[in-house]
Symmetry: C2
Subunit: 225 residues, 2 copies
């Protein structure tokens, strides 16, 4: 990510120039490590091997950087995962792989947790709202594809996303509280299974979805990567 900028190494140095996105990515990285407050121009400049002079050429001030970073986050960190699985034909398997992949990535990157904690900032809140709507909508669409009626699909999508968020929090705060290794995927599978099971929805309950006969699926092995 960070470009090399050896400063006085004779002639071989191709002194890269930085782009707005380089700064935005660095800001997101810093944000993941230390929250919004850690998005500081001068430390970022050091990390990028440059100086403030570069920064204030690309941005008017720190706020502009934060907005750029949030935009970049909202664009990249949601669509990529969705797009990666677009070729999977089976919606159930697509849901499962989406869930496993998303939780794994979120467990590796503290950025999302950091952003969730910065929702007091209106710009962060806006980005979060955008991303959350998109994600829940997409999951709900998967449930709808699986045969659930519209509102029930949305309800389950909401639950799935809630589980995703909670799991992410735990994986960062107290990782040892969660099963690790192969038990991890099994745990997430049972969680998904719970969400997929036809519930006795008491409120506006259609009667149809009764007991699941003989569900069998796809080995959990496929999801590596």
């Amino acid at each position: 990510m960070v470009r090399q900028r050896t400063k006085e190494t004779g002639g071989s140095t191709a002194r890269q120039r930085l782009t707005v996105q380089d700064w935005a990515d660095a800001a997101l990285a810093a944000m993941g490590e230390g929250g919004l407050a850690a998005v500081a121009v001068e430390p970022l400049a050091v990390r990028l091997g440059t100086t403030k002079g570069s920064f204030y050429w690309h941005f008017t001030n720190r706020d502009a950087l934060i907005e750029a970073a949030l935009d970049r986050w909202a664009e990249t960190r949601t669509e990529t995962v969705i797009a990666e699985l677009a070729d999977e034909p089976d919606p159930g398997e697509r849901l499962r792989r989406l869930f496993l992949r998303a939780t794994r990535r979120a467990a590796e990157d503290p950025l999302e947790v950091s952003l969730l904690a910065s929702a007091a900032d209106p710009r962060v809140a806006a980005a979060l709202a955008r991303v959350t709507d998109r994600r829940i909508g997409h999951i709900a669409a998967l449930f709808a594809e699986l045969g659930f009626p519209e509102d029930e699909a949305h309800r389950r999508g909401l639950l799935a996303y809630t589980a995703y968020l909670g799991h992410t929090q735990l994986s960062h705060a107290v990782p040892r509280s969660l099963p690790a290794g192969p038990a991890r995927d099994r745990h997430l599978d049972t969680l998904l299974e719970t969400l997929l099971r036809p519930a006795g929805t008491p409120g506006a309950g259609p009667d149809v979805r009764q007991a699941n006969p003989q569900r069998r699926v796809t080995e959990p092995a496929a999801e590596r990567g």
Copy 2:
């Protein structure tokens, strides 16, 4: 919370003196609003109507304040809720009321979200680990009281706490994504009901996995969000 300290109001002023806990509570409040970085001595002093002189009498430095605040949080914000419901005889009802109460409080107070995002700090991580273990253990004990075997009770306790965390995150980040008003409790009730329903136990390794209720394989067109 903040004590009144009118500064020059003649003689009627009972000039309160501050305690270590006053500072710790103020630190927790600031932390909820702006994260760990917002725990700054001088702003806190202003909020408390005093000066740094007071602070550095009670604490050696800022780090000591943070530790005191974390200790106070770990002690108060978990045991109180548990203790408040100790007189409820029915474990199912105790679980339900615990869940409703905890989620409501967490939705009102941003502190917990902020702490979860500061888990990179080892002191915060320690406090979180303590509190998390205590809470999951307590919830698991409730499930055990309800008749679930030990490991299954723990598994469901973990799921319940995951749901709690996720719900809390959503309620702060994108509150409108969650049902409000009376639908709120109904939503949480169905969530709990899901967790209480006897499920296909995972440990013994039955082949049942992942459900497809009446597949209605739709066009991939539904994918557009």
